[in-house]
């Protein structure tokens, strides 16, 4: 395996190329399928395998930028990208990210003055609430709300109740339309507010924010799930360009590692994006819910480690996220193979 080691000049160490490509592949599949960047998987994975942490986030952003170009292009060909919506979300996201980052720096100053890890604890608790809350809500949506909606549709003479999205869209002040997403009219201020919040969370947690933005597109703006995945990847691409430049300027990017991860991610993204074709919107949401739930468990273990000071918990946290990401990857690949074979058989049978 040593023959696959390559010297990384900025990191000043040797690292296994196959490992970099494998991490990239896993994140590529999940990113292409869920429309996320995958920083919450890459950073613990690199940590587990000994990659220098000061360079992890910049290297990750660089690879995410490249990968999201590949995935966005493919989603675009499938008609899954609402370009207009993607661009206009930036008007809310960018100030949100800045405010989130300013709050982190303020908490950091408070922490240094008081000698406590205020930033670490605040970030972890925010992660736990967001990830577990999102996972539980999306699972509830799949198992309970979806069945209620379908049952109501089957009732004769049923009166269509206004959903949250209908109520949000009812406000017509400074209305804008997104025909690609079947949105006739929505106030631009709603779009600004939703993505300001997403940007704030992303700036506060120091991540791309795809895990909160994709569900926001689905549940608050009312974009069909597959379209939300592709549009979110487009936004990840724009964020990734900015993050890649900024963190490279900070000196936190190992370019060679990022390129090797990109090769793996590009192959993975092809698989992840293609799988979207075969799995219905609610199926994507359920798998996403499971993924973020395990990510939340991983952060719980890290928070327990910060309280109990047990290195075993930190390692367990890394393995939980890597393990769940690998299993999810496998599920997506298997579903793709099974569905693709079914499609080929149906074509041969002339259906």
């Amino acid at each position: 395996m040593d023959m696959f080691n390559v010297y990384l000049p900025i990191a000043q160490m040797e690292f296994n190329v196959l490992l970099l490509m494998a991490i990239g592949f896993c994140v590529g599949v999940l990113g292409g399928f869920f429309g996320v960047g995958g920083a919450w998987i890459v950073t613990p994975a690199l940590n587990i395998f000994g990659f220098p942490m000061p360079l992890a986030i910049g290297t990750d952003f660089a690879h995410i930028f490249g990968k999201s170009i590949v995935a966005t292009r493919k989603h675009g060909k499938m008609g899954n990208v609402d370009w207009k919506l993607g661009i206009t979300t930036m008007v809310g996201t960018v100030p949100g990210v800045w405010i989130g980052a300013q709050l982190i720096m303020y908490l950091d100053k408070l922490g240094k003055q008081s000698g406590q890890d205020i930033v670490g604890s605040s970030v972890r608790w925010t992660y736990i609430i967001m990830l577990l809350g999102l996972g539980i809500f999306m699972s509830y949506d799949y198992f309970v709300l979806r069945k209620k909606k379908e049952a109501k549709k089957l009732q004769p003479g049923a009166v269509h109740e206004k959903s949250l999205i209908d109520k949000i869209r009812a406000w017509k002040f400074l209305a804008i339309s997104y025909p690609k997403s079947n949105i006739e009219s929505i106030s631009i201020l709603i779009v600004f507010a939703v993505f300001f919040f997403c940007g704030f969370i992303s700036g506060f947690l120091g991540v791309g924010g795809g895990f909160i933005r994709m569900p926001s597109l689905v549940y608050l703006i009312g974009v069909p799930t597959a379209l939300a995945v592709g549009t979110d990847l487009f936004i990840v691409m724009l964020d990734g360009a900015y993050g890649c430049f900024l963190y490279s300027f900070y000196g936190r990017t190992e370019l060679l590692a990022a390129v090797f991860m990109l090769f793996g991610a590009s192959i993975g993204a092809q698989i992840g994006v293609t799988a979207v074709k075969y799995i219905r919107g609610y199926g994507i949401r359920l798998l996403f819910a499971i993924m973020v739930f395990f990510a939340g468990i991983s952060v719980v273990l890290k928070q327990m480690d910060s309280i109990m000071n047990s290195p075993g918990l930190k390692t367990a946290s890394g393995w939980v996220i890597m393990g769940s990401a690998s299993v999810m990857c496998l599920i997506i690949i298997i579903r793709l193979i099974v569905s693709a074979r079914k499609e080929i058989q149906q074509k041969k049978a002339g259906l």
Partner: protein, 98 residues
């Protein structure tokens, strides 16, 4: 140029020429900068060039990294399209089912 044409590209102009540069300058904090000089004594070729850029011209290093990742990403995207077309696995627009 008609007002309607300008209106349609206004978000692009705001994002590219106002928000991105503004967020870059607002986003750069001194605490974020990694003040490390990488030892170049055992390096040669492109590794040496890149590391010299990293040590001495951080802004250019950032430009090179961003352009490299963009170029590699776009190249892989187009090559994949060609390979999938040759194999008959080209994707087309899908129906969106919830």
């Amino acid at each position: 140029m008609k007002f309607n044409d300008i209106k349609s590209i206004l978000p692009w102009i705001i994002i590219l020429f106002v928000l991105f540069p503004l967020s870059f300058f607002l986003g750069v904090e001194k605490e974020g900068l990694l003040n490390v000089r990488v030892d170049t004594s055992d390096l040669e070729g492109i590794r040496l060039w890149l590391t010299n850029l990293y040590n001495d011209h951080r802004f250019l290093f950032a430009v090179v990294v961003t352009l490299t990742m963009a170029t590699v990403g776009i190249t892989i995207a187009f090559l994949t399209d060609i390979i999938l077309k040759v194999l008959g696995l080209e994707v087309s627009k899908i129906q969106h089912h919830e």
